[in-house]
């Protein structure tokens, strides 16, 4: 059993005679508790009481405004390999107040489905393409799992992958060659049997630059997939990748039927997708609904649900209203509605980690923050907790070392040390002192550019307020994504909001944000798209001829690249700790928090637990959702 509590919250989990105390960000392994007692505290409210294993409060000690109920989530023991146990936790960080994962939630998938009905889910964006090979929209990546299968599948807790279309674990021939056996009992929605040819075709299609897939960069490690038997695929890798399994479990490696896809062509396939998943596309009303019906011939059995219906509702609060009135079964919950949702007896609220990194990017090349001391001054200027609350309230947690807390937890990075060293207490006097050292004083203008959105303008507004308090004239400009990217490309910003989504691997943050793009294969010319190396840290140092910094930066670039092509975890750990220590004193970013998203599920949905990895939660080997009206 794993238990972890977010910040400010303490609790006791009870299992038989044994009881376990837990403190913030602490994890305990042990049997599934029969009940848990949690003392919950946030800035605003405190509720203490005794909770059952499903998270229902049956004896509140104190009830104040705010939380009266805590959702405990449980995942089944067993499928978790010991090696990955450590990574288990990062998902639970997000779920509910005290996340207890146990498998008792999911019903046996072999049990014949007695629940039925259509599961209606609100989502805010239109599907631009149903072709997973071309898709890059987050929500459809989740939904695509219902239509398509992949060789592997993430476990609901994110602890690792299990074979899905693959018949057993991948067989490692050498460092860059893997062989996968494919199940022979899988057929596509059009009746064709799924074979190794389809698998090889699908993987190679995304890899082929001619197809212009936006997901190409995610499968660059792959050289070629080769069908070496009717039900056997051999993967030849360009280089060893720590991310291979994750990628093969994701929708960048979704398996499509070769014949049908070739015959239809990409454009038509994007409208009439054919997969092998537990549901198939029945209808798509543009910008309105996406309807999926159960696939009776699914290789894991027939789903209990008749179908899934995604309702595209642009305004999250409207989606929530529909959830609250029972018109739909699942919807996002905005930060402001979190308390409301948690107080609603008909709604279970789940907080899921977004695995992202949110904060501000500082322009290290030009403008007031080209001087390292000015950037350091910012660390004294702000109160990180205020920024976090201003951005997302309770829907997020602080992060350190420029990666999400989930990653830090999974890897056991020395976040405490980083916090102590590089995240000082707010001290306006010291901030002003540093601004003066940097030759700025307080008589300068700062333009904070912000992407549109509550979380981005929220944090920008709080930051603006901090500047105002020390007498620095700061303005906020909310800009479109296009303008924002322009600003990044041209270095035309002082401070801008920045967020980077990744997965639970540090590579997703350090390689993508902190490498020196100049050293990429072939490099990138200065004036072209894609030039968004973080805050022009390298360019700034080069322009000022700051030898000391350059030396550090060269090393930084070297190790984030090396860490990527190493599979040894210990080695990678060392690389990233060193990278963080090189990076942090340069203060290229103001890293504030990792966001969580809250989703509300109507209580008439049974045996359903959303997971941040979003893989067929409504029907997979762990759980099978039903609607009890």
């Amino acid at each position: 059993m794993s238990v972890r509590l977010p910040r400010y919250r303490t609790g006791t989990a009870v299992s038989g005679d044994e009881s376990v105390e837990f403190r913030p960000f602490e994890r305990h392994d042990g049997p599934v508790p029969t009940k848990a007692v949690a003392t919950l505290g946030t800035q605003q409210s405190v509720t203490a009481g005794t909770y059952d294993a499903r998270g229902r409060l049956f004896s509140p000690d104190v009830t104040c405004s705010g939380y009266t109920r805590v959702v405990f989530s449980m995942y089944k023991e067993g499928n978790t390999s010991d090696i990955d146990r450590r990574r288990f936790i990062k998902s639970t960080a997000a779920i509910g107040a005290a996340g207890l994962f146990a498998g008792c939630v999911g019903s046996d998938p072999d049990e014949p489905g007695d629940g039925s009905g259509t599961f209606r889910i609100a989502t805010s964006d239109e599907v631009e393409t149903f072709d997973p090979r071309m898709n890059q929209m987050a929500w459809y990546s989740t939904a695509a799992h219902y239509l398509f299968d992949s060789l592997l599948m993430m476990e609901p807790d994110g602890s690792g992958t299990v074979p899905h279309l693959a018949d057993g674990e991948l067989e490692e021939v050498d460092e860059t060659t893997f062989v996968a056996d494919i199940r022979d009992d899988v057929s596509f929605h059009n009746g064709d049997q799924l074979t190794a040819e389809d698998v090889a075709y699908s993987l190679n299609w995304v890899r082929n630059p001619d197809n212009d897939s936006p997901n190409l960069s995610n499968v660059e490690f792959l050289d070629e997939a080769e069908a070496t038997g009717e039900f056997e695929v051999t993967l030849h890798l360009e280089y060893q990748s720590a991310l291979m399994e994750r990628t093969l479990a994701g929708m960048n490696a979704a398996i499509v039927p070769m014949d049908a896809a070739e015959e239809m062509g990409q454009e038509e396939f994007a409208q009439n997708p054919i997969g092998s998943g537990p549901f198939e596309l029945a209808n798509h009303d543009p910008s309105a609904t996406v309807e999926l019906t159960a696939n009776d011939d699914y290789f894991l059995g027939e789903p209990a649900l008749d179908g899934l219906e995604y309702r595209i509702i642009p305004e999250t609060e409207v989606g929530y209203v529909e959830l609250a009135t029972g018109d739909i079964h699942q919807s996002g919950v905005t930060e402001a509605l979190l308390d409301e949702a948690q107080n609603d007896d008909n709604i279970d609220v789940y907080q899921l980690d977004n695995f992202d990194f949110q904060g501000f990017l500082l322009n290290c090349l030009d403008g007031p923050f080209e001087d390292r001391r000015a950037r350091e001054a910012l660390q004294y200027l702000v109160d990180y907790d205020e920024l976090l609350i201003g951005a997302v309230g309770d829907l997020g947690s602080r992060n350190w070392g420029h990666m999400p807390q989930g990653v830090i937890d999974a890897w056991d990075f020395p976040a405490d040390e980083w916090e102590e060293q590089y995240y000082p207490e707010q001290d306006h006097d010291r901030a002003v002192e540093l601004f003066e050292e940097a030759g700025l004083g307080t008589d300068f203008d700062v333009e904070i550019t912000s992407q549109s959105g509550e979380a981005t303008t929220g944090r920008a507004t709080v930051l603006q307020n901090e500047f105002e308090e020390v007498g620095i004239n700061a303005t906020v400009s909310e800009i479109s994504d296009g303008e924002w990217l322009d600003g990044l490309d041209n270095g035309d910003f002082d401070i801008t909001t920045y967020g980077w989504g990744g997965n639970d691997d540090p590579d997703g943050y350090y390689y993508h944000m902190f490498r020196d793009i100049e050293n990429d294969d072939g490099g990138m010319s200065d004036d072209v798209v894609g030039h968004s190396s973080i805050g022009y840290l390298y360019e700034g140092a080069r322009e000022r001829g700051d030898e000391e910094a350059l030396e550090d930066l060269e090393r930084l670039d070297e190790i984030v690249r090396a860490a990527r092509q190493t599979t040894d975890r210990e080695e990678r750990y060392e690389y990233y700790v060193e990278a963080a220590d090189l990076l942090m004193p340069l203060y290229p970013v103001l890293g504030v928090y990792s966001a969580e998203s809250a989703t509300g599920v109507h209580t008439n949905v049974q045996d359903y637990e959303p997971s941040p990895f979003g893989e067929q939660e409504a029907f997979n080997q762990w759980q099978e959702a039903r609607i009890d009206d």
């Binding site: 936006p214 990409q266 454009e267 910008s287 305004e315 989606g319 479109s480 798209v529």
Partner: protein, 316 residues
């Protein structure tokens, strides 16, 4: 015959205006900051991929070439290809046209009779309590921001009273009952301001008409007051009203952006909004062009109706 030729001539006259709109939109869309390719590919695209895309969409060619190319294709009825959806813009517009037109049509259907009824009532009871009340209601109607009204409706009607669903769209041609429940709130949102505006218009032109000499004639010849109001005054008061109804197409289409966004209606307003955010040039231009064409057609129909109602208009 004359009317037909008149109509034809009016329709031909909108072509230069449309041409102007196309040009304006083309310039404006290219003046938008940001690069659609960049936006499509995210913060870190491969250069090769980006170049490919830029080339395949012709974004690397000089602007005037792109413009002429666009005009030529437009002449062939081709609105271009959506960058985001990788589909023809005309398909996207076609798919999303119905909800917008249905909501707009219903808004007129609700607004017009109410506005006319209340307007005539107000004019007939000029300066009496009933008139003051309807005048105040009219003022309140045009003073209420529609998005605020929409939110309040959702808050009260859906969330607290649980009477109507707050989002979605079903075609009235498929399921009229469900469609109606879904359309009530969006239509109220759009129709409130319309009703108020048209009512004010009806009222003031009725008041003006009721002062006309021929109304005095009708009264002096013993025509019953109801007939004076409905037949004699209203037919004339209809003229300015018809003009406004035509011009209001524009306001309703603008309002559709907001209403469709809030009530999750899959129409053109939302398509426009999304395309603007995604910088999907050709879609944004296409929808704007469609809106403008609709508006211009509305104006021409207005003119024709005007000519039909008012025998004094000579259509030559």
């Amino acid at each position: 015959m004359g009317l037909l030729r008149y109509a034809l001539r009016r329709f031909v006259q909108i072509i230069p205006v449309l041409f102007g709109i196309v040009t304006l939109m083309f310039v404006m869309m290219h003046a938008l900051p940001g690069d659609p390719v960049r936006l499509y590919l995210g913060t870190e695209p491969g250069q090769e991929l980006a170049d490919d895309l830029i080339e395949s969409y012709g974004f690397d060619r000089p602007l005037h070439e792109q413009y002429f190319d666009y005009l030529v294709r437009l002449g062939q009825g081709d609105l271009g290809q959506s960058f985001v959806y990788n589909r023809p813009v005309s398909d996207l517009i076609w798919e999303r046209m119905e909800p917008t037109l249905v909501v707009m049509g219903l808004s007129y259907l609700v607004a017009l009779p109410m506005a006319i009824g209340l307007g005539i009532y107000g004019a007939a009871r000029h300066n009496e309590a009933g008139d003051h009340a309807s005048r105040f209601a009219g003022l309140a109607g045009i003073s209420t921001p529609n998005f605020w009204l929409a939110l309040m409706l959702i808050y009260v009607v859906t969330y607290h009273l649980e009477l109507l669903p707050a989002s979605g769209y079903t075609s009235p041609f498929i399921d009229p009952i469900e469609s109606l429940t879904l359309l009530i709130m969006p239509v109220i949102t759009l129709a409130t301001a319309q009703t108020a505006l048209l009512m004010r218009m009806t009222r003031s032109s009725m008041i003006e008409e009721l002062r006309a000499d021929y109304i005095e004639t009708a009264r002096a010849y013993g025509i019953p007051e109801r007939k004076v109001l409905i037949r004699h005054s209203f037919r004339n008061a209809l003229l300015p009203l018809v003009t406004i109804v035509g011009l209001q197409v524009s306001t309703l289409l603008g309002g559709s952006v907001i209403v469709e966004e809030i009530f999750a209606i899959p129409g053109l307003g939302r398509l426009f909004f999304d395309s603007l955010i995604d910088q999907d040039y050709s879609v944004a231009v296409g929808v704007t062009l469609f809106f403008s064409t609709l508006f211009l057609i509305g104006v021409v129909l207005t003119d024709i109706a005007y000519a039909y109602i008012d025998p004094r208009i000579k259509y030559d």
